[in-house]
């Protein structure tokens, strides 16, 4: 498989490693979603827990948080940073677990990877829906020999850019604490 990828994308220095890393995690998610023993409504929580375990391996939530806040990251003290990462992670998990669990039988095709910098790569995939494809790109970063996702781009909309624009409005005239308070409320309610 790696050989084939090398032949198809001779320019890539990574030779399919990031793509395979993302793909194997996505396959694990799909396995959970397709698992007949988890189909029942009563297994909803078990299913959610399994998905959470996979997402924690798949994503680098600290990197994702830093990049979301960008310049504002330094306005948070270490404790606040830690809490932000936790709250933001559960916000994303809550929000997307439901969406992912509504998955039916769409196919996901991985097409290629594009190097962004020395350590970051964009892995491109498409979700094949009945009335058209949705381009879904994962941006991954290499840390300690592992490629993990720090941004997801759907139809050109970057997840971290989108949240950055929302957090920026809050942080423009309020302290970090008030953003944390907003997140606590959101996560508690969800």
């Amino acid at each position: 498989m790696t050989l084939i990828l090398c032949l198809i994308f001779p320019l890539s220095a990574f030779a399919g490693v990031p793509l395979e890393a993302v793909k194997s995690n996505v396959d694990k998610v799909l396995d959970v979603l397709r698992d007949p023993s988890l189909k029942a409504e009563s297994a909803r929580k078990a299913k959610k827990d399994k998905l959470r375990a996979i997402s924690e391996k798949m994503f680098d939530f600290t990197e994702l948080s830093k990049r979301t806040l960008a310049q504002n990251w330094s306005k948070f003290n270490p404790e606040q940073q830690k809490e932000f990462v936790e709250l933001y992670t559960s916000l994303l998990e809550d929000a997307y677990a439901n969406k992912i669990m509504a998955y039916t039988d769409e196919k996901i095709v991985f097409s290629k990877e594009v190097a962004l910098t020395e350590k970051t790569v964009e892995v491109q995939s498409r979700v094949l829906r009945k009335n058209g494809d949705i381009p879904l790109y994962y941006r991954v970063i290499l840390k300690d020999g592992v490629w993990r996702v720090y941004d997801v781009v759907v139809e050109g909309v970057s997840l971290i850019n989108n949240y950055r624009s929302q957090f920026r409005e809050i942080l423009a005239n309020k302290p970090p604490e008030s953003l944390l308070e907003t997140l606590r409320k959101k996560v508690g309610k969800a």
Partner: protein
């Protein structure tokens, strides 16, 4: 009775901003756009873009100290600023954000009005469009809904072809022409997407707002349109422009009354939404500030649309057919 019928039609029209695709593919009734003279819009866009750079230029001279007191204060502030800048820089290095470009932004001088429109569209989705669509997809099997979708999509092929042509994407324009001919004839008015299924010729998205963007025209400012959802001055003009390339616009009013064409649009929208129920809900659930989130998603999505086609037109469609 007729009144109720009309009311339902119009209500369904006032539909959701749920899908971003809607702003590229949906139709614009002339009532929304036609009263604004297009030439003045173009100049407004230009002046808007200019004022942007002017503002920046004008702000810089303000740093010259007007009296002695500020001279004393200034060095300290500069030190603090420099320190802050250093911290930011180091934070950026740490997170490797050097390659990360800041997301695109858009002016939103009409925010108060836009927010009202946003809430209006939101209510219409939950009160009208969603319930209607749920009943609709319960009655009409999916296979038929896909066929309807193909027929509506085929009607937009001339617009896609012309816009591809205007963006100098000749191969894409040719593909759309072939698709339109093949699907209209062999696919029986677009019932089947024969061009894609048998010939492997895929749809080449293009709209007039994108064409304007291709030639360097900026958004101007953000605009939330009733029914159509997130848009901008440029893309609003684009919606009207696409309407001129839509075949049903040229069917005489004796053959197709206003009510009928409204009904056709409402059906197109409901049919399209039937594949996307849940998208808007999860969008809202994931957002901290849905209004800001949608505005940002709109501007990011449109930026990609413009850039994607621009790079394709330069490299003459690498992907081939």
């Amino acid at each position: 009775m007729k009144l109720i019928y009309n009311f339902i039609l119009v209500s369904v029209l006032m539909l959701c901003p749920a899908s971003l695709q809607a702003d590229t593919s949906s139709t614009a009734p002339d009532t929304v756009q036609s009263h604004v003279p297009e030439t003045s819009m173009a100049t407004q866009i230009l002046s808007d873009a200019n004022s942007d750079t002017n503002e920046v230029a004008q702000k810089q001279p303000e740093f010259t100290p007007p009296d002695e007191r500020t001279i004393i204060v200034l060095p300290q502030r500069n030190e603090a600023e420099a320190k802050e800048a250093q911290e930011v820089a180091s934070a950026e290095n740490e997170t490797d954000t050097g390659a990360e470009e800041e997301g695109p932004r858009i002016h939103d001088p009409l925010a108060p009005v836009n927010k009202v429109m946003y809430h209006f569209n939101d209510r219409l989705y939950f009160w009208v469009l969603k319930p209607v669509t749920q009943v609709y997809s319960h009655i009409i099997p999916e296979d038929f809904r896909i066929i309807f979708g193909n027929v509506y999509d085929n009607l937009w092929a001339p617009s896609r072809m012309l816009n591809n042509l205007l963006q100098l994407r000749f191969k894409a324009a040719g593909n759309e022409l072939i698709r339109f001919l093949v699907n209209s004839v062999a696919g029986m008015a677009g019932v089947g997407d024969v061009a894609r299924d048998a010939l492997g010729i895929k749809k080449q998205e293009a709209d007039f707002g994108q064409t304007l963007g291709h030639y360097g025209i900026g958004h101007g400012f953000y605009l939330v349109l009733p029914v159509f959802g997130p848009s901008s001055l440029r893309d609003g003009v684009g919606l009207a422009g696409d309407r001129f390339m839509y075949p049903l616009t040229y069917v005489s009013s004796s053959d197709l009354t206003f009510e009928e064409s409204t009904g056709i649009y409402a059906h197109e929208k409901v049919n399209d939404t039937s594949f996307k129920i849940g998208d808007y809900e999860s969008f809202k659930e994931s957002a901290i500030d849905p209004y800001v989130s949608m505005r940002d998603a709109f501007v990011q999505h449109r930026k990609k649309k413009v850039e994607e086609n621009r790079s394709n037109s330069l490299s003459h469609a690498r992907k081939g057919l």
